[in-house]
C-alpha cells in the first residue's frame, strides 16, 4: 500500500499571531513552526500501517524551502520519503491542485490530510483533492483500518459517529481519534540521523490561477476584564446572565 500524508507547516499553537506589511502578511518573525496537529495524527496512523502492513509512506508539502525542517521531522518520525512542491501555498484550491497532481502521478492508495490546518482553518484541501481526483473521501476521520483494497472508516458526526466502508484509493480528512494524543511520536536521535539520508524530492509546481486571496488581516479587539461574582452571591451571576448578557 502506498500512503501519501499531506503535511501543513503551521505556527505552533502558542505563537503570537501578528501581521506585517500593513496587515497583509502573517509575521513569521520568532514563530516556531510545527507539523499541523490534524496532519500529525494521520502521519502517526500511517506509521502503524507501515509497521503492521508494510505500507510505504511519503509525506508531501506545498511550500518554500522554509518548510523543509517540518518535512524532515516527519521523516524522523518514520516516513520513508518526502516531496516538496516548490511554490508558496497561496490558497486552499491551488494547494489542492498541486497535491492532486502528486496523487495522480504517484499512484497512491491512501491519502491522509488533516481536517483543517491551524493557520488558515480553511478545511478544504482534502475534499478538493478528492473532487479533483474523483476518489472516495471521508472527512473527520476518527478511526481507520485497511484490509486489502477496502478501508473501514469511522467519522465523527454531530452527536455521534458513523462507520463506513470504501474502496481505495481513498482520501481521508484526519483528526484526533485516528490515533490518540498519547500515540504521537517524538523523533529520537536515530530517527533524526536516518531522516538526513531519506529522499526529499523537490518538484516544480504546475501553473494554477488561485481562486481566492487574502486581502488583509485584523486582530480581534481586546476583551474587557472579567466580572467577578462572589461564590456567596450566585443570584447576581444569574441576574447578570439574564439581564446583562441575555443568554439565559
Amino acid at each position: 500500500m502506498k500512503i501519501l500524508v499531506c503535511i501543513s507547516h503551521v505556527p505552533d499553537t502558542t505563537s503570537k499571531i501578528n501581521f506585517t506589511d500593513d496587515n497583509t502578511k502573517f509575521d513569521t518573525n520568532g514563530v516556531q513552526f510545527i507539523i499541523n496537529p490534524n496532519d500529525e495524527f494521520g502521519l502517526t496512523r500511517s506509521m502503524w500501517f507501515k509497521e503492521k502492513q508494510g505500507a510505504h509512506v511519503t509525506v508531501v508539502n506545498v511550500g518554500g524551502t522554509e518548510t523543509e525542517p517540518t518535512l524532515r521531522k516527519a521523516l524522523a518520525i518514520g516516513a520513508d520519503a518526502a516531496i516538496r512542491v516548490n511554490t508558496p501555498a497561496i490558497d486552499g484550491f491551488s494547494v489542492a491542485k498541486q497535491l492532486a497532481k502528486v496523487v495522480q502521478d504517484g499512484g497512491y492508495d491512501l491519502i491522509i490530510a488533516g481536517r483543517e490546518s491551524l493557520d488558515y482553518n480553511g478545511g478544504m484541501v482534502p475534499g478538493m483533492i478528492a473532487g479533483l481526483t474523483n476518489s472516495n473521501f471521508v472527512n473527520n476521520c476518527i478511526s481507520l483500518e485497511v484490509d486489502g483494497n477496502t478501508a473501514k472508516v469511522t467519522r465523527e458526526i454531530d452527536g455521534g459517529k458513523e462507520t463506513v466502508s470504501a474502496d481505495l484509493p481513498l482520501i481521508i480528512g484526519g483528526q484526533k481519534g485516528i490515533v490518540e494524543e498519547s500515540d504521537l511520536r517524538i523523533p529520537n536521535m536515530r530517527g533524526i540521523m536516518m531522516a538526513r539520508q531519506k529522499p526529499l524530492t523537490v518538484l516544480d509546481p504546475i501553473n494554477i490561477a488561485p481562486e481566492t486571496a487574502s486581502v488583509k488581516f485584523e486582530k480581534p479587539a481586546a476583551k474587557g476584564a472579567v466580572k467577578l461574582v462572589s461564590p456567596d452571591n450566585l443570584d447576581e451571576l444569574i441576574s447578570l446572565l439574564h439581564n446583562e448578557a441575555k443568554v439565559i
Binding site: 478544504m124 472527512n139 452527536g159 450566585l234
Partner: protein, 319 residues
C-alpha cells in the same frame, strides 16, 4: 441568478443553523439585487423558510437520501445551482456542510470561504470577513471566481426574520454513484449536541474524577445545555472523546459557555473562543481562563455548582 442556500434538516426538521444560513442568504441577495432559493433534501415542511427571506424552495424527496452522503449531496446542490444560474451558494459550518462544500467547490469551479462571520464587505470585488488562526485573527478574504461558496460561522450572523412568500418546486436531480457505504451509525438521539446547543456546560480536571460528573449533567439539564470537557479529561477516559472541545476537539460557538474546573490552556480557549459569553468557575484566580471569560466565580466547584443548580431551578420556576 438567485442566491442558493442549502437548508440542512435532521429527521425532516430544519436545523437552527440552517435558518441562519437562510437569513445570511437573504442579506447577500439584497446586496446583489436578487432573491433566495433554498434547496432542501427530505425536509417535511418548508413553509418556515418564508419567515427568513426565502422566495423559492427546491424540494428534493427521495428515500435513498435519508442518510447523508457528501458526494451525492454535493452533486444535488450543484445541479440546483446550475439550474438556478446561481452565483453564490451559502452553506453552514456543520460537520456535514464542511464535508460536502469542498467537493461542491470543485464541481462548480467556485472559490470557497469557510468560517464567514458577516455579510460580504463588498460584492465587487467579492470580499468576506472570516476567522483565521483559530480565532486569533480575522481575515478579509477575496473570492475571484464567477461562482462563490460561503460557509457561514455558526452563531455569528444570527437568525433574522424577513417575511416572504415562497414558491415550492419538486426537484428530482440525478443521483450519482457514491462509493461510500454506511455500515453503522452510533448517535445519542435524546441529547443536545455540542454543535446545536445554545448553552454548553464544560468541565475539566478540577472535578477530580468521572464520578463527580453528576452535578455537571444536572447543571446542563437545568439549562437545556450540552455537556463538554477539556482535553485531559477525555485523554484520561473520564468522559467520551465526543465531548472533548478545544483546538483538536470539537469547536464551540454557543451563546453561553460555562467552564468548570478548567484552567484555560491556549489550545482549549482556541476551540471555544467563538462562544458569545463565557463563564468560568475555578478555585485558582490565576487560571488563564479568567482572562478569556466575561464572568467568573473564584470558588470550589463542589460548593458553587450545587448551589448554582438550586438557584437556577428557582429562577426557571419563576420565568
Amino acid at each position: 441568478m438567485s442566491v442558493l442556500v442549502y437548508i440542512e434538516s435532521e429527521q425532516g426538521r430544519f436545523k437552527k443553523t440552517a435558518l441562519e444560513v437562510a437569513s445570511y442568504g437573504k442579506a447577500i441577495a439584497d446586496q446583489l439585487g436578487t432573491t433566495v432559493t433554498a434547496i432542501t433534501i427530505n425536509a417535511m415542511e418548508t413553509s418556515e423558510l418564508e419567515t427568513y427571506g426565502v422566495s423559492k424552495v427546491l424540494k428534493v424527496n427521495n428515500d435513498s437520501l435519508d442518510a447523508f452522503n457528501a458526494k451525492i449531496y454535493a452533486s444535488i446542490i450543484q445541479q440546483a445551482a446550475e439550474k438556478e444560474g446561481t452565483k453564490v451558494v451559502v452553506v453552514s459550518s456543520s460537520v456535514n456542510s464542511k464535508y460536502l462544500a469542498p467537493l461542491l467547490s470543485i464541481n462548480l469551479n467556485a472559490g470557497y470561504a469557510t468560517n464567514v462571520l458577516e455579510a460580504p464587505v463588498s460584492t465587487s470585488p467579492f470580499i468576506v470577513k472570516r476567522t483565521a488562526f483559530t480565532n486569533k485573527a480575522y481575515e478579509m478574504f477575496q473570492i475571484n471566481t464567477d461562482v462563490k461558496i460561503l460557509g457561514v460561522s455558526k452563531n455569528s450572523f444570527g437568525i433574522k426574520e424577513n417575511k416572504t412568500t415562497a414558491s415550492i418546486e419538486d426537484f428530482t436531480p440525478s443521483i450519482p454513484e457514491s462509493g461510500i457505504h454506511i455500515e453503522s451509525v452510533d448517535k445519542a438521539s435524546n441529547k443536545v449536541t455540542i454543535a446545536d446547543a445554545d448553552i454548553v456546560v464544560s468541565a475539566g480536571r478540577g472535578l477530580k474524577g468521572p464520578e463527580n460528573w453528576g452535578m455537571i449533567e444536572d447543571l446542563a439539564d437545568v439549562l437545556g445545555a450540552a455537556t463538554a470537557c477539556s482535553k485531559p479529561v477525555s485523554d484520561l477516559g473520564w468522559r467520551p472523546h465526543s465531548e472533548h472541545v478545544g483546538q483538536t476537539g470539537k469547536p464551540v460557538a454557543s451563546n453561553l459557555y460555562i467552564a468548570i474546573g478548567i484552567s484555560g490552556a491556549i489550545q482549549h480557549l482556541a476551540g471555544i473562543n467563538s462562544s458569545k459569553v463565557k463563564v468560568v468557575i475555578n478555585t485558582d484566580q490565576e487560571a488563564p481562563f479568567f482572562k478569556a471569560a466575561d464572568y467568573g466565580v473564584v470558588g470550589d466547584a463542589f460548593v458553587v455548582v450545587p448551589q448554582l443548580i438550586e438557584k437556577l431551578k428557582a429562577f426557571k420556576a419563576h420565568q
